[in-house]
């Protein structure tokens, strides 16, 4: 909302600098975004052109004599509309104006134009920063006082208010005036309204009824006859322009002016276009249509409130008038409406028709019914002032059963203390309420019955009044204390703890955390998953763009996209992970949000260094991270070959704990890499589903295991086996053998010295007993047993044995 201080000062004295006033308003909840200064031109005066002659050396220029009363000067002017007798804005040498040639704000200097010295300049709107019109000079009204500094005549300061939705009152100049008065200890001067009425009473000239009072709490109207439609006087146009509204004609301008002044939207009908002099406020009938003032044809339904005459809608109540009853140059008789429409219904109509107007901005927030007749009378008076005519005696005032009583809210000193943690003296409370325009009645020593003034719609309960008090006296006056109640027991959330631990571990493993948007495209998902078209992921109904439409069921797509976008910046290593939620639709409920962790590794295995080779990451880098991570969590994971459309068919494993699937690890499928434009030769990736990982965590606290007292014995076993025996099964069998403490795979061999279709794995095997040093014979016996079971179970034999 644009608030010109010159307008505000009509209703309340302001003796603070604009900056200070803005600060006080902001602290009290009326945020001032910007302070715009109009003026600051310095040496620019109201001048009068006394003579216009042709320029001796240029056809399109003229020599003008300008007087400021005190002095007379000759200036060169190129504007087509300059004429003798005009009041104009005259910039003398030294004025601070906008130079249209250099496109900068500059100090005006004397200049010689085509051989004639110009002692100043007659200004257009552009040079003064008052508008975009550079086609001619500004013509001031005839009564503009010659010789006055233009800063005093046209200068102003405009506060740009950034209002919160509750402070409807401050959408009006008077509303802000009340606020300013309360904050600075001044009094508000409301406009005095009085006018003469004559002729037939309004009640005998028009029939007005409200058929749907739930949508129209109050409907008031006045009637003027014999008005003459034309442009508004300059002061009225200036007010509307300064607030950002466009002047239309004198009657419509008055309704807009009073809306800006009091907040009440009004509407004027051409009385002679209302059929049968009948107005019915009712829900629209199915199939009814109305062409609104913007020229659009609107299809109406019973959800829309219309103002209708005997036959048809003539206005969309509280939203926009109808073209069929519009004020035009031909209008002579005017019916003026000031009503209280239902907020939610008004808002819904405006939203469904995408037709948010200055009126709906106000009605939707719920105007108070007391306001309607006040604004009606003010507008009636002003229309008569600017457009003439006679006013019919009386007003129409239809009030619904809900009544029009002002809310009365109790306020106790106990409540103030309970909310704020400090007492505020009743005297100070009363003074604060007085300043804000509330009235009150004492109900006992420490209780007030407070009546809310008609311009405030946001005060309904005792807490609201507490805020009125504290925001006016300032929050600095409230003490600063610590919570004194006992600290509640806080049960940590297991899945959050696990996720944070996983994040820390992955960062420690040299992987960078990323965070992605959870909205992706179907195409992105199809590139990395097999999508079931019958049960698609959840979709946003109003996506901002087509690339943010579906709630991701996987982290893969965006992580691989991150990789692609970063691969342009070097050779890596690219190591990224994300811990985020995936979304799984459920029937009749919110989707399941699964905590998931995924990572991608690509490019160089080591940081580039003169000490390191240039080997690239592969499957085993990703698997190593997963194994290490799960081991750190105390989860004994196993790995099984797996098929997944995103992964290389021969280089992908399910990560399991018993039968539970914990995740997947592998190299990205070459076809997926090609589709995504990822750099060859391979990208390794993993996913972990944190719910099953959480379930796999050891139930009990990790317990200390005594260190071995006796030395272990080592045997190196080179084993031969059919090539398709998984190494994991061999390790597993060795590890499970009695007496074996651990085993390390240290070599894999296939080739010349081995039979075709076989391979050799070599292990360091450590034997250990808790209670004694194993003898050679015992170890040998154990090895023999181990070899027997390897041969029996997996057809594994000792190499060259």
């Amino acid at each position: 909302m644009r608030l010109p201080l010159s307008w505000l000062k009509q209703y309340v004295d302001v003796d603070l600098p604009a900056q200070d006033l803005a600060h006080r308003l902001t602290m009290a909840g009326i945020e001032v975004g910007e302070i715009e200064v109009i003026g600051g031109w310095k040496e620019v005066f109201v001048g009068q052109v006394t003579d216009v002659r042709p320029h001796p050396n240029a056809d399109r220029l003229r020599l003008c004599v300008v007087t400021t009363g005190a002095e007379e000067m000759e200036v060169v002017c190129g504007a087509p509309n300059v004429a003798a007798g005009q009041k104009i804005c005259f910039a003398k040498v030294g004025a601070n104006i906008y130079n249209t040639h250099t496109q900068r704000q500059e100090t005006l200097e004397a200049a010689t134009i085509r051989g004639v010295e110009s002692q100043g300049m007659i200004c257009s709107a552009v040079e003064l920063g008052l508008g975009d019109d550079h086609s001619g000079i500004i013509e001031l009204p005839d009564d503009a006082p010659t010789g006055t500094l233009l800063d005093d005549y046209l200068g102003d300061t405009v506060l740009d208010l950034e209002l919160t939705p509750n402070r409807l009152d401050c959408l009006s100049v008077l509303g802000v005036a009340h606020e300013v008065a309360a904050l600075t200890g001044k009094k508000v001067r409301e406009p005095e309204v009085s006018y003469e009425e004559s002729g037939t009473p309004i009640a005998d000239q028009i029939k007005i009824s409200v058929a749907d009072p739930d949508l129209c709490r109050r409907y008031t109207a006045s009637l003027l006859r014999g008005v003459s439609i034309g442009p508004s006087p300059q002061w009225l146009q200036d007010r509307l322009t300064s607030a950002g509204l466009r002047p239309i004609n004198n009657v419509v301008d008055v309704t807009n002016f009073v809306m800006l002044e009091y907040n009440q939207p009004l509407h004027s009908f051409d009385l002679d276009l209302i059929k049968d002099a009948t107005v019915i406020v009712r829900r629209a009938k199915p199939g009814e249509k109305l062409i609104t003032l913007d020229g659009e044809e609107r299809k109406l339904s019973a959800d829309n409130l219309v103002i209708a005459d005997a036959n048809d809608p003539i206005g969309l109540g509280g939203v926009m008038g109808g073209a069929n009853s519009e004020i035009s140059v031909a209008t002579v008789n005017v019916l003026l409406e000031s009503a209280t429409f239902d907020g939610p219904n008004n808002r819904e109509t405006a939203q469904s028709m995408e037709l948010r107007t200055e009126a709906t901005l106000r009605f939707e927030k719920g105007l108070r019914p007391e306001l309607a007749p006040i604004a009606l009378r003010r507008a009636t008076q002003l229309i008569q002032e600017v457009a003439g005519g006679t006013i019919a005696p009386g007003i129409v005032d239809v009030v619904s059963g809900e009544g029009i009583d002002a809310p009365v809210v109790p306020l106790t000193s106990a409540k103030i203390k309970r909310m704020l943690g400090m007492a505020v003296g009743m005297k100070q409370v009363k003074e604060t309420l007085d300043g804000l325009g509330f009235t009150w009645e004492a109900a006992g020593r420490d209780e007030l019955k407070v009546t809310v003034p008609y311009w405030r719609n946001d005060v309904n309960i005792e807490e609201d009044l507490v805020e009125e008090v504290v925001r006016t006296i300032g929050y600095d006056s409230v003490p600063t204390t610590m919570l004194s109640s006992p600290i509640p027991f806080q049960q940590p959330v297991a899945i959050m703890g696990l996720r944070d631990q996983v994040k820390d571990l992955l960062a420690a493993a040299g992987i960078q955390e990323v965070i992605n948007y959870p909205l992706v495209t179907l195409q992105q998902l199809e590139q990395v998953e097999s999508l079931d078209r019958a049960s698609l992921p959840l979709r946003v109904a109003n996506p901002m763009s087509s690339d943010r439409e579906y709630l991701r069921p996987t982290l893969r797509a965006s992580l691989l996209a991150n990789l692609e976008s970063n691969q342009g910046h070097g050779a890596g290593p690219f190591r990224m992970f994300e811990a985020g939620r995936t979304f799984w639709p459920r029937e009749g409920d919110l989707p399941e949000e699964r905590e998931t962790v995924a990572g991608v590794l690509a490019g160089l295995r080591h940081e580039p260094s003169w000490l390191e080779d240039e080997s690239l990451v592969d499957f085993f880098d990703a698997k190593g991270v997963v194994e290490w991570l799960l081991a750190r969590l105390g989860v004994a994971s196993t790995y099984e070959p797996a098929d997944d459309p995103a992964f290389h068919p021969g280089r992908c494993a399910h990560i399991k704990f018993g039968d539970a699937l914990l995740g997947i690890v592998g190299e990205v499928h070459p076809a997926v890499m090609a589709r995504l434009g990822l750099e060859q030769p391979q990208v390794a990736a993993f996913e972990l589903y944190l719910d099953p990982v959480l379930a796999a965590l050891p139930r009990s606290q990790r317990q200390f295991e005594p260190l071995p007292v006796f030395p272990s014995a080592t045997r190196d076993l080179a084993l031969t086996m059919p090539a398709d025996v998984p190494a994991g099964r061999v390790s597993q069998l060795i590890m499970r053998h009695r007496g074996v403490d651990r085993a390390e795979l240290f070599d894999i061999y296939t080739g010349d010295n081995l039979a075709k279709g076989t391979k050799s794995l070599a292990f360091h095997v450590y034997f250990q007993a808790r209670d004694r040093t194993l003898t050679n014979e015992e170890v040998n016996k154990s090895v023999d047993g181990l070899l027997r079971s390897l041969e029996r179970e997996l057809n594994v034999t000792l190499r060259n044995a």
Binding site: M27, A28, G29, T164, P165, N166, G343, P344, R347, K365, R418, M419, L420, E467, V470, R471, Y475, D476, V478, P479, T480, T481, M482, L483, S484, S485, P486, I487, P488, Q490, P492, V493, K503, L506, A507, A509, G510, I511, Q512, E513, V514, I515, N516, P518, L519, L538, V540, A541, N542, L551, S565, N566, R575, M576, F577, F583, L590, H606, E607, W610
Partner: protein, 357 residues
């Protein structure tokens, strides 16, 4: 070198062996020579060993005296040997170390380095500050019902305040027809969820992602985090809210921070405020400061006393319980702390950005 002798050992002879052996040892510079020396004096056929062997030929009385001398001489020579070996070893190490020089200005072998996302760090820092004041940390669903995101927060359908949160709705047909699904526009729905599931006293903070239908620019993201806070119990006041947030501000931004509240509006609190801290960049002076845009103050979060309608909605008696709530944007705080000028850096996941934190 002394030949093995059949002569009976004498004190003088032992002395002589000790002296000459010591003198000889001092001249030896490598371990091999020292070992030969050991063999020739202390070895099985060494000079001193021979002397010791000859003790048997002496009278009992003399054997005791000379024997003691001989044993002492042996100990002395063994100690000298040990000392000499140590000296030579050290000298060898010093020499070889001075030969095995590296160009220490060459870069070292870099470990792989991973970092947490700056949002994660700031969210943890924020939560930790409140945990220290007895708050627990909980999270809630990112896909929410209109019921929790709006209705339970005193923002019924058709309420103009809904304009404050431009919403991304989820395409979902409710079988009962009364629940709209959406991406939560703030973490505040957890206020109602937490209160519904617990009894006062409550102190929690709720970090998490939020979403708005909003065009992005340098200061706006459609996808962002919030940290919500909630304290409910008997006798909780606005003064307690001030105290709690003051402690938070000092912990995050420095001990000398000042705080300021101004009136603001959120439908689920009353009174509602906006908290600023004095600018840590210019110490509140404001002149020409980029961080606080000349004002000397930086808005950090919204807060207020929980609206009685919200308390009633979850079945709490507002005459018995009061509480406060607050909410802040971690990205904004990270931007202030790290001097990041564009919020869009956060989720574009450019490693060149992420590696800076």
């Amino acid at each position: 070198m002394t030949e093995p002798s059949a002569q009976p050992p004498t004190a003088e002879g032992i002395d002589e062996i000790t002296r000459s052996a010591s003198a000889e040892l001092d001249t030896l510079a490598d371990l091999e020579a020292v070992d030969q020396w050991r063999v020739s004096y202390l070895g099985r056929r060494g000079a001193l060993t021979t002397v010791l062997r000859g003790l048997a030929t002496l009278e009992v009385e003399e054997r005791r005296t000379v024997g003691a001398l001989a044993n002492k001489a042996k100990t002395t020579l063994e100690e000298k040997l040990e000392e000499r070996v140590r000296q030579i070893n050290e000298a060898n190490l010093m020499r070889s170390a001075s030969e095995d020089r590296l160009d220490v200005t060459l870069p070292g072998r870099p470990p792989l380095s991973g970092r947490l996302h700056p949002t994660t760090k700031i969210v943890r820092e924020i939560c930790d500050a409140f945990v220290a004041m007895g708050f627990g940390v909980v999270e809630g669903p990112e896909v929410e019902w209109d019921h929790y995101n709006f209705e339970m927060l005193n923002i019924p359908k058709g309420h103009p305040a809904r304009d404050m949160w431009n919403t991304l709705w989820v395409d979902y047909e409710d079988p009962k027809g009364d629940s709209a699904m959406l991406l939560r526009t703030h973490t505040s729905p957890m206020q109602a969820r937490v209160m519904e599931s617990r009894e006062p006293p409550i102190r929690v903070v709720v970090p998490g992602k939020c979403y708005r239908y909003e065009a992005t620019d340098a200061t706006h993201e459609w996808h962002f985090y919030q940290v919500e806070g909630l304290a409910v119990g008997e006798g909780i006041t606005f003064a307690d809210l001030k105290g709690t947030l003051y402690e938070f501000a000092r912990r995050m931004f420095g001990e000398d921070r000042k705080i300021r509240f101004r009136c603001d509006y959120f439908p689920f609190v009353e009174p509602g405020v906006d908290m600023s801290i004095d600018c840590f960049a210019c110490e509140g002076n404001g002149d020409g400061c980029r961080i606080c845009r000349d004002s000397g103050w930086i808005e950090i979060m919204g807060a207020g006393m929980i609206h009685p309608k919200v308390l009633e909605g979850v079945g709490y008696d507002p005459e018995k319980y009061t509480g406060f709530a607050f909410g802040m944007g971690p990205e904004r705080i990270a931007m202030l702390k790290y001097g990041i000028d564009d919020i869009r850096h956060f989720y574009s996941n450019d490693l060149r950005f992420l590696r800076q934190f």
